[in-house]
Symmetry: C2
């Protein structure tokens, strides 16, 4: 039996589709929205519409921005000869928060995943090659995830960039800081040994 009115059910279903939201939370959110004053409820739909209209890819690095160029690409103090390649804007934000990286980025908007039908042409690989082809780039740091798709993408990009004769590096994988070796999983531990550095 259908317990909710149709428009309410439709609203619940929209929230259920979102990542990290189950049926109960979707229901709770829908009732929360219905309980809001009219202007606060429409502020939510306005925010969705506004973000979808105004946010687009940066003309250079493909990061999400509301201007033609994102604040990082516009910043002249950053080192524009070093590009850190990331899968998505969330990864970019995570790296920015470390305040350790002074170069610029390139956002791929995904990773190569043949099973999901995502090949290099769905990503911003072409745009990356155009930037590299423009000269002036000294190093490419590949910071895709450490899962299968991320690794495959890293290897694919490395092969693609090799002919340009610029430095290519991959971020380090190993033990997270503060963990006990005895509790580390085998894959991480072997990556840590493999990637050991002289001291």
């Amino acid at each position: 039996m259908q317990y909710n009115a149709v428009p309410l059910q439709r609203l619940i279903e929209q929230f259920e589709k979102m990542p990290g939201i189950g049926r109960k939370t979707a229901q709770r959110i829908a009732f929360y929205i219905l309980g809001l004053p009219k202007d606060e409820a429409s502020a939510i739909s306005d925010a969705i519409n506004e973000a979808c209209e105004k946010i687009h890819k940066c003309a250079l690095c493909c990061n999400l921005t509301e201007d033609e160029l994102c604040p990082i690409c516009k910043n002249e103090k950053r080192d524009h000869s070093v590009i850190c390649v990331v899968e998505d804007s969330q990864s970019l934000i995570a790296i920015e928060k470390t305040k350790e990286f002074g170069g610029v980025y390139h956002v791929l908007h995904g990773a190569v995943s043949p099973l999901d039908g995502i090949g290099p042409e769905q990503l911003t690989v072409k745009e990356l090659l155009a930037r590299i082809g423009g000269g002036e780039i000294k190093e490419i740091i590949i910071a895709t995830d450490s899962d299968i798709e991320g690794e495959a993408t890293a290897m694919y990009l490395a092969k693609l960039i090799k002919p340009f004769d610029i430095k290519i590096s991959r971020i380090a994988f190993g033990l997270p800081v503060g963990t006990d070796i005895q509790y580390a999983d085998e894959v991480t531990l072997s990556r840590a040994i493999e990637g050991r550095r002289s001291m």
Copy 2:
């Protein structure tokens, strides 16, 4: 530092306000929406607007509905002389799912909570009294939550309905089915003993 573009940040903040959603989930949802095709993204905002426009309180029981009367109040097979009073539509759905109750409902839209500034006038108490005053009601089952606010509301309503000389009952509180007595909390266990039934 502000890492996200303003419209994106605004979208994240809207989701952060929702119940059960933290900063990380809000961010994940916002990026998910930005990654959707335009029509799917606007389907979300349309669903919000449509629900807020079309859904309102049932003229009789104050349940959320898109028609003048909700499907339960319209249903002639139900016993309209027994009213089950609940705090919200979610409670109503929970009771409906048991398929045990054949009467009708009254949705209070909250519980008396002086600390939050919610008195009886913010609830649909007036509408409930009008229904009772119309005669034909034989029993009121008070099914407000078992927390302080729900208990206070139940007591307040019982006092208010007493002069009408109709049967008033409160749903039973005790051990949830399938639990071990040794693990029950003291309050629940004392309520279970207090509410014991002869067998």
